[in-house]
Amino acid sequence: MIRFENVVKRYPGEGADAVHNLNFEIASGTICMLVGPSGCGKTTTMKMINKLIRPTSGAILIDGRNIDTVDTIELRLSIGYIIQDIGLFPHMSVGENIATVPGELGWKKERINARIEELLELVDLNPKVYRNKKPNELSGGQKQRVGVARALAADPPIMLMDEPFGALDPITRAKMQDEFLHIQEKIRKTIVFVTHDIEEAIKMGDNIAVLKAGQIVQLSSPMEILSNPADPFVSELIGGRNSLKMLNLMLCGQIMKSLSPSEGEKARATGHGLLGLKATAQDALSEMLRTGQRFIYVEDGDRIVGVLEFEDLLERASRHGLSQ
């Protein structure tokens, strides 16, 4: 758990605090998105966690321990760090880049080698092909995967990610986001993720902290932010179409009506449209609009397990909307 207590940062010669009296917690194993416009203090907030920036006053605690009392190098080695232009070392191979932190920790060579292979497979890069390549031989998405692998090298409990997918094209970005969420399901790290993209925050975050002028204006789940924006600034940041965005947070598997195996067989015989359990309600709506049907079947593997009706979507979206 990461805990900010009355944290203030004022840069020398500045009239106002870059970060003003932050008090919040990030639970272990969750992704906390720090989102806001440029200069809102989100990067400063993140960099205070690994002591790249020292707070002017206040305390930051990791699992109850004030980070001031922890050796800087030791602290940083226990925190994975990924930045926007990834910061891969251009003169080192992919393998050498990943080996950086294990090397600093003094791991044995065999252990480092095994770890490099394991991580490259985790991020879906063939070790035989990519291990000895230099960063400039990789595409943007591949560099990002190596960046993730490097940050995970020593299995740190915490990861700091500073707009890691910011420089990617939209298609690669969406793919990397999905893959990263998939990896996070396996590794369950405590992640602090800085972004200026509210869509990314809604998609990736367990919680979202919206920052403005160095203060948190709202800290809550994506669903809560969409259905209950704390003030006009947050509403503006979300930029309308909240209900559609909310549909994006609901998975077909969660909101469908279950069907028995025999009903599933019957449904299959109709040849009607199908979606997976992990498809979102927005996907379902889009599919209904495309086919002109008011319902869609949900399949798990090759078995149809549920059905989703247009009225369900309508009710779900408006129920959240009503709570405003």
Binding site: I73, L75, L77, S78, G87, F89, P90, T100, R150, L160
Partner: protein
Amino acid sequence: MASLSSLLKVLLYGLIGLFLSIWVVQNPQDGLVARLVTYDKLAVLLLQHFYLVGVSALLAVLTAVPLGIALTRPGLKSWAPRVLALVNIGQTVPSLAVVALSVGFLGVGSLTAIVALWIYSLLPILSNTLIGLQEVDSSITEAAHGMGMKGRHVLFRVELPMAAAMIMAGIRTAVTITIGSAILAAFVGGGGVGNLIIAGNNISRWQVLVLGAALPVLMALMADVIFESLEKKVRV
């Protein structure tokens, strides 16, 4: 392939120098040239020249690179622009003036020559070390620090390797210039191929003058090719 063509170039320049020397020794203009230019004497002069350049360049690397590193560390960073400006002014002073000035302090001899050449070759190495280190992307060094690398590891494993090509380019400039400037050592009793030029001029023998002028040029060309390939090798 680049290294093969460099090797061929070095061989070519070496052979030209060798044939030129053999030609002068075998076919001297007259007895004076025959006595002045022998294989033994040429070997001594070339070794002296090599020694002057090697020692001064080595000293320059050993002083300029650490100084350049120091001037990019947080404490001394603010001094870097001033030192760089001073270095740039220093580079405009003719090498002859530097040699003459050192005679004033140290008298004549090879030590004077080495000190003068050292000071003169310091400058390109220092400025390139500074620029090379300053050009390392700050987001990369911040990533290195943020990941928990120790300060000296960031320097030796990240910053210096990334600046290596630039530093090597400075050494290349310094060495090629120094090979030419080392001719001036002959004026202060430091020896080297410059002796041939002075002697050739005194006795007005064109063969001696041509040899004295050609050998340093060929040496400089060889050094240039060798350091060019080293530079390519360390380029990121």
